[in-house]
């Protein structure tokens, strides 16, 4: 179990109805179903992942939220809506956040921090778009079209009146480190936010 998923799991009440946007191979939902008696659905577009979900008993819906939106889900029909490592890859992160909060009482979002000191250093030293283990793409082929910093995200939440219930900052391997918390926007690589209206 990835460390970030363990953190997320702790924030999910037993018997919750969960929507996982970009559920991958269904690891998290499978875990939540077994350990938290959760129900719910995962959205995914990768055919291999979808097949894996079907094989392990995770309810998966093939749907591209960027193309098709989330209009097929009803208001406040989930206890928790999750999105791990995908916010930076959607066309309109602000709209997606609104949609997530329309569907769920509570949302959990994780994304990489573009203000991490190594990325800042890379840009300053090389004058080129930063690449790292977490962000291993070139500027022209990256799926991460809306990278932001923790501060950017929090500013957006403030503007949209979104309440931040919890924030946990981890490193690239999703480990908890004391120095991540010391100065998150400089030293943290991945943030896990728990938000609500």
């Amino acid at each position: 179990m990835r460390a970030d998923l363990e953190i997320i799991e702790k924030w999910i009440q037993p018997n919750s109805h969960v929507l996982d946007l970009g559920c991958g191979d269904g690891t998290l939902l499978d875990y939540l179903q077994r350990e938290r008696q959760a129900t719910g659905f995962g959205l995914e577009i990768n055919p291999e992942h979808i097949t894996t979900c079907m094989g392990r008993g995770v309810c998966v819906i093939e749907q591209d939220m960027d193309e098709q939106g989330l209009g097929n889900f009803e208001n406040q029909s989930f206890d928790v809506v999750l999105m791990t490592q995908a916010l930076q890859a959607v066309r309109r992160p602000d709209v997606v956040l609104d949609e997530m909060l329309r569907l769920g009482r509570e949302c959990i979002v994780t994304f990489p921090n573009f203000a991490y000191w190594r990325l800042r250093w890379y840009l300053m030293r090389n004058g080129r778009m930063p690449e790292s283990e977490t962000l291993p793409y070139k500027w022209y082929n990256t799926p991460n079209i809306h990278l932001c910093t923790f501060n950017d995200f929090e500013a957006l939440c403030y503007r949209k009146n979104i309440k931040i219930k919890n924030r946990t900052v981890v490193d690239g391997e999703h480990r908890y480190r004391w120095f991540n918390r010391l100065w998150p926007n400089m030293l943290g690589q991945i943030a896990i936010y728990r938000i609500t209206r």
């Binding site: 109805h17 894996t52 008993g57 093939e62």
Partner: protein, 410 residues
């Protein structure tokens, strides 16, 4: 191209013929059957003497169902899978009747050892539905009240009625709960209806290339088919058997128009394009383009083996199917009684029952908080894609059914 592959590419060909009809293009008789085939199978006829009340208000006093089974029922009777057929299908879903058969059952691509519906794990039951013309009681059967064939007096059967008769079949076979009820197109509607009529008698419903209700366009195509049949002078108000006639021309036309809706523009284009039988235009009205002679051939073959009254009945069953109707047109409310898990699959180029129709069904299932998984398979074959073993389709279907097998201890 190997003949077997040719068959797979043209599944409509596949659906057309009951077993035993030979065609020049197929390979000569094989010495052995493929290892992933269920092998030689024999249909059997079960008689039911309990009356079956029907949605139309009438009831069938007694009836026969022709079935085939593949695989072994386990001691707990937990591994049974019901196969529901589509408009022109029948009980012969997999395997061969005789070594000399040139082709296997209509869904052999998905039923057999190691295939998605794996007969090493499941006991598979396939039947010819009531109203059919392949041995189960239908318009060509004798009406016990008159001693003559039913013909047009055979009551219109609905999807609900089929499900009731299939439940009687399950009782007879000692199956209290199906591991899964599976079907494509009209067969998918039966799987869906099972989940509503007998929620505690199935664990999974697999609904492929189907729809929760026909659109106006779907009904319009069916109406053209029906008009083609009923306007044939040989139809005699449905009593053609008494007149020793067959409305062959009408049935041919009905099948031609239906057949077009099973294929996609792209797959027809690839197969025929604008190819002509001879090079120059003849400025006449004979079949000059290959696609014309193909459709005529398919329609004529079909009209030799299918009953016109059955065709009318099947199209009506399609038109009437609408589980939301009983719940104030609220499909989610209708689905809230279902208890099983659902797998819904659609195909990208299916314009008969488009992916949007499947998505409408999935949306209602989500709203009703039913367990559902959905995938839209990219395949160029139109509606017929559900019969063709496209790798992604087979992978997803297999993964799901393997999990079903694990769950029921098969």
């Amino acid at each position: 191209m190997a003949p077997a592959f040719k068959l797979l590419r043209w599944p409509a060909l596949y659906l057309l013929y009951p077993a035993g009809i030979t065609q020049e293009q197929f390979a000569p008789m094989p010495d052995s059957l493929p290892p992933d085939s269920v092998g030689l199978v024999t249909p059997r006829t079960l008689h039911f003497s309990e009356p079956l009340p029907l949605a139309c208000g009438q009831s069938l006093p007694e009836y026969d169902l022709v079935i085939e089974t593949y695989g072994e029922l386990n001691a707990e009777a937990s591994n049974a899978v019901l196969i529901c057929h589509a408009l022109s299908g029948h009980h012969h879903a997999a395997g061969f009747h005789e070594m000399s058969d040139r082709k296997p059952g209509w869904w052999d691509s998905c039923i057999g050892p190691g295939k998605p519906i794996d007969t090493n794990h499941f006991y598979v039951v396939s039947l010819n539905n009531l109203g059919g013309c392949h041995g189960s009681t239908g318009p060509t059967s004798t009406n016990p009240a008159t001693g003559k064939c039913y013909g047009p007096d055979f009551p219109v059967i609905t999807v609900k009625d089929w499900v009731s008769s299939q439940a009687a079949l399950a009782d007879r076979l000692g199956i209290q709960c199906w591991a899964a009820v599976v079907g494509g197109s009209l067969g998918g509607m039966q799987a869906l209806q099972w989940s509503l009529t007998f929620p505690d008698r199935l664990r999974h419903a697999v609904v492929i290339a189907s729809t929760p209700r026909l659109t106006a366009q779907n009904i319009a195509f069916n109406e053209v088919a029906r008009q083609a049949i009923t306007s044939d002078p040989e139809f005699y108000e449905g009593r053609y058997q008494e007149h020793n006639a067959t409305p062959r021309h009408g049935l041919t036309l009905a099948r031609m128009v239906g057949h077009i809706t099973y294929l996609s523009d792209a797959s027809m284009g690839e197969k025929f394009g604008r190819d002509m039988r001879e090079q120059a235009y003849k400025f006449g009205y004979d079949a000059e383009f290959q696609v014309e002679s193909y459709l005529r051939y398919q329609g004529e073959r079909f009209s030799e083996s299918f009953d016109a009254n059955t065709y009318l009945l099947m199209t009506k069953a399609l038109d009437y199917f609408d589980p939301a109707y009983d719940a104030d047109n609220n499909l989610a409310a209708a689905l809230s009684q279902a208890q099983c898990e659902f797998l819904v699959l659609s195909f990208s180029t299916d314009w008969r029952f488009t992916p949007a129709r499947s998505e409408e069904l999935v949306k209602a299932m989500i709203a009703a908080r039913r367990k559902v998984s959905y995938a839209e398979i990219d395949a160029p074959w139109g509606h017929d894609a559900f019969l063709i073993p496209t790798p992604r389709y087979i992978d997803a279907f297999s993964a799901y059914m393997k999990r079903v097998a694990r769950e029921v201890g098969a």
